[in-house]
């Protein structure tokens, strides 16, 4: 079983990555055999911008996309910028094929300077993954600066991880192969008046 962790934090170290790591470790406690691959979007920022321009991912970005699309579960964590996910976070998911995450269990989480932005998870990240037909865990985890020293964050992390673990155990839909093609006779027949 494989888990991909996407962190869109920009500073080093970042609280976004810290939250991603906490979520990951709570998931690993429940699914010890899981293989974890962490993708720091900061390292791929130029490749992601280039993909937007050229239409294809360079090899390092391709490997990251493959890790995400082939994983059994995804932890996706973004800082909240200007009332939404960061542009880098969105751009990464923009360059992934829009069918590639269908049926994928996803845990969404975000960090921010103030708790006033916590609903960005519900009005930005959750609809984005709904569009991608991913299965988003009911609990989304938001960590504002003050949460790191307060009670409650750990419980939310545990609850979200246990939901993701439950979703990852379920059977996922089989995706169509890229080179499957509708036989030409059928394509012609569909056009007959």
């Amino acid at each position: 079983m494989k888990l991909a962790v996407v962190s869109a934090g920009l500073s080093l170290p970042s609280s976004t990555r810290l939250l991603a790591d906490r979520l990951t470790s709570a998931l690993v406690d429940r699914v010890p055999e899981v293989e974890v691959e962490v993708i720091e979007l900061r390292d791929l920022a130029v490749d992601i911008a280039n993909n937007l321009v050229t239409g294809f991912p360079a090899s390092r970005l391709r490997a990251a996309i493959d890790a995400v699309t082939s994983a059994d579960g995804l932890v996706a964590v973004s800082p909240i910028f200007t009332a939404s996910y960061s542009g880098l976070f969105k751009s990464f998911f923009d360059v992934i094929d829009h069918d590639a995450l269908a049926g994928k269990p996803v845990l969404i989480a975000a960090t921010g300077g103030t708790a006033r932005h916590s609903l960005a998870l519900e009005h930005a990240l959750r609809p984005m993954f709904a569009y991608l037909r991913a299965i988003v865990a009911p609990t989304a985890v938001y960590a504002a600066s003050e949460d790191w020293g307060a009670e409650g964050l750990s419980e939310r992390i545990e609850r979200a991880a246990s939901e993701l673990a439950g979703l990852m155990g379920k059977e996922q839909p089989v995706r169509a192969q890229v080179d499957e093609v509708v036989p030409f006779e059928q394509q012609l027949a569909a056009l007959r008046p």
Partner: protein
């Protein structure tokens, strides 16, 4: 194996001088480039078809007819002819006419066109892109093979007792390639008819085109046209050469950095590593191009994009000299080595006429 060039006919400012050619200069330059292609021993010149600035090639058969009159040997082709927005009845007429004028030195490549706003200019809807490509080509295929056609379809008025004129030269329709950047449906269409399949092989990594070509080869065999390795494959490519590879990189970099499509994105070095673009010495171009056979199998036609991104005519003509004198002769020799006897050449008017008997 055939070698040639294809142009997209872009009018682009030369980033090193800030000068933009006029449409007239660009159109005449394309003709000069085509004539040069024949002079340096290339086999094919193909022009794109576009109906929006910054492109000038809106009327390919007009241009190819003019080039036909001034050449002897060059095969005139397209890259691509829009099978979606052109009326197939007019394509049948135009290219049959061109065949007669050019004594059969004509083939063409079908493409869909990917510019949404162009479709309504010709009364079409881009959402019908694939169905238009399928229905229009099915009609075109009949118009070139049946003297009198009764036809009814979804996208144009029915035909009753219609005869396309002139009939194809010697009763042999022009050979057709189908070009696609991303659609398996088009690879399937090419396979169904036993037509050629052309992969532009420019913008993306080779793995992408490998998938499409291997699908085409498999389906070509499925439809009984021959073995997978006998399917008719064409590839694009883009190169820039100077004797010394550093000179090539230095001279081409501003054109690359400002090029339409991929400019202002990855570095030249990254793009060379990820796509088939080669900027360097003639030997490097030879080495890289010979690799295409390993990736895609023995193939029939190699076209290079040479005249884009604002490169001045003088430079393009120098490039064609290098291509014709130093690169293609070596490629011809090397591609012939170890090429299985059962792999056919690209069909020409003469070979199709002989086959017809």
């Amino acid at each position: 194996m055939q070698f040639g060039i294809f142009t997209v006919s872009d009018v682009t400012t030369d980033p090193t001088t800030g000068r933009t050619p006029t449409e007239a200069e660009r159109i005449k330059a394309m003709v000069t480039i085509a004539l040069k292609a024949e002079e340096v021993g290339l086999d094919v010149f193909a022009t794109g078809e576009h109906h929006n600035p910054p492109f000038v090639a809106s009327s390919p058969t007009t241009m190819l007819g003019y080039i036909a009159a001034r050449t002897e040997r060059l095969i005139l082709s397209t890259s691509t002819t829009l099978i979606t927005t052109n009326d197939p009845v007019k394509i049948a007429e135009d290219f049959a006419m061109l065949q007669h004028l050019a004594d059969g030195r004509v083939d063409l490549m079908m493409g869909r066109g990917n510019t949404g706003p162009v479709y309504p200019w010709f009364g079409k809807d881009i959402r019908d892109g694939i169905p238009l490509a399928i229905e229009n080509y099915a009609l075109l295929h009949r118009l070139w093979r049946e003297p009198v056609v009764d036809w009814e379809g979804r996208f144009r008025t029915p035909l009753q007792g219609y005869t396309s004129t002139p009939a194809p030269l010697d009763g042999v329709p022009p050979f057709v390639w189908h070009g696609s950047i991303r659609s398996p449906e088009i690879a399937e269409q090419a396979a169904y008819y036993g037509d050629g399949f052309f992969a532009n092989n420019i913008f993306w990594p080779k793995e992408h085109y490998q998938q499409l070509i291997s699908l085409y080869r498999r389906r070509y065999a499925h439809y009984g046209h021959g073995l997978p390795e006998q399917a008719i494959v064409g590839l694009g490519g883009q190169v820039f050469m100077r004797r010394n590879s550093q000179d090539a990189v230095r001279e081409f970099r501003p054109y690359f950095d400002n090029a339409p499509v991929y400019g202002h994105g990855p570095s030249l070095e990254e793009f060379m590593a990820e796509t088939p673009l080669t900027v360097g010495s003639p030997d490097q171009v030879i080495e890289r191009t010979l690799k295409f056979r390993e990736y895609f199998g023995d193939y029939q036609r190699q076209l290079f994009l040479m005249d884009h991104a604002g490169l001045p005519l003088k430079t393009v003509l120098e490039q064609l000299d290098i291509l014709g004198e130093e690169v293609v002769p070596v490629l011809r020799k090397e591609f012939a080595i170890g090429r299985p006897a059962n792999v056919p050449d690209a069909p020409t008017h003469q070979s199709l006429l002989a086959q017809k008997g």
